[in-house]
């Protein structure tokens, strides 16, 4: 039973480049969440989808960040014109329904912006 799969595990970009992170939720899970983790800010909520529809993106920086869920088997987080302060571990999680705190997290994608 595969867990949440995130790719790539590590990504290094130059300042101003674009970064796209992928997430494959657990099969059958209807909710997908994106979090960002840094030493300073801890775990920050970014956005979530339920049945592929965007429900809450209140944590997403209004510029440069976007997330999509084109089908039930994957979601993407895209960061345009990356900045050094975007360096973080981006975590994707899924749950069977959104009305539960039982999130299953992937191992994360570590983004480093030089």
């Amino acid at each position: 039973n595969a867990g949440v799969i995130q790719t790539p595990r590590h990504k290094v970009t130059g300042k101003g480049q674009e970064a796209t992170l992928w997430c494959e939720p657990i099969s059958g899970h209807s909710a997908v969440f994106w979090y960002r983790q840094t030493i300073v800010q801890g775990l920050e909520f970014l956005t979530y989808f339920r049945n592929q529809a965007p429900i809450d993106d209140s944590g997403m920086p209004k510029e440069r960040f976007s997330a999509q869920m084109p089908n039930q088997s994957h979601s993407t987080l895209k960061i345009q014109s990356t900045q050094p302060q975007d360096s973080a571990v981006y975590l994707c999680a899924s749950s069977q329904t959104s009305n539960t705190g039982q999130l299953y997290f992937g191992e994360g994608s570590k983004l480093t912006v030089l």
Partner: protein, 113 residues
């Protein structure tokens, strides 16, 4: 504004002792409180959780004590083992909101053999 606070930031105990991790929150609408355990290089994993209608939840060596009036909860890890060394996050969410999980800043636990 930090809605979920954890203390201490780091904690060291000896093998066999009980580790106590503290958490407090501000939003009275929070009614679900999971604790997540995270090892280096991994994502957080759900350890144990409690609903606000309960004041205690046990699962093996792990126990949550919850005080709704004071908006405080604690995680007790009995008979701590070196394998319990990890970072522990308290989180909270509201069934009346978007079910967004708000995480505390974490407690890094080290269990010395």
């Amino acid at each position: 504004q930090q809605q979920v606070r954890q203390s201490p930031q780091s904690l060291t105990v000896w093998e066999g002792e009980t580790a106590i991790l503290n958490c407090s929150y501000e939003n009275s609408a929070f009614d679900y409180f999971p604790w997540y355990q995270q090892f280096p290089g991994e994502g957080p994993a759900l350890l144990i959780s409690i609903l606000s209608v309960s004041d205690k939840k046990e699962d093996g060596r792990f126990t949550i004590f919850f005080n709704k009036r004071e908006k405080k909860l604690s995680l007790h890890i009995a008979d701590s083992q070196p394998g319990d060394s990890a970072t522990y996050f308290c989180a909270a969410s509201s069934s009346s909101g978007s079910w967004q999980l708000i995480f505390g800043s974490g407690t890094q636990l080290t269990v010395m053999p």
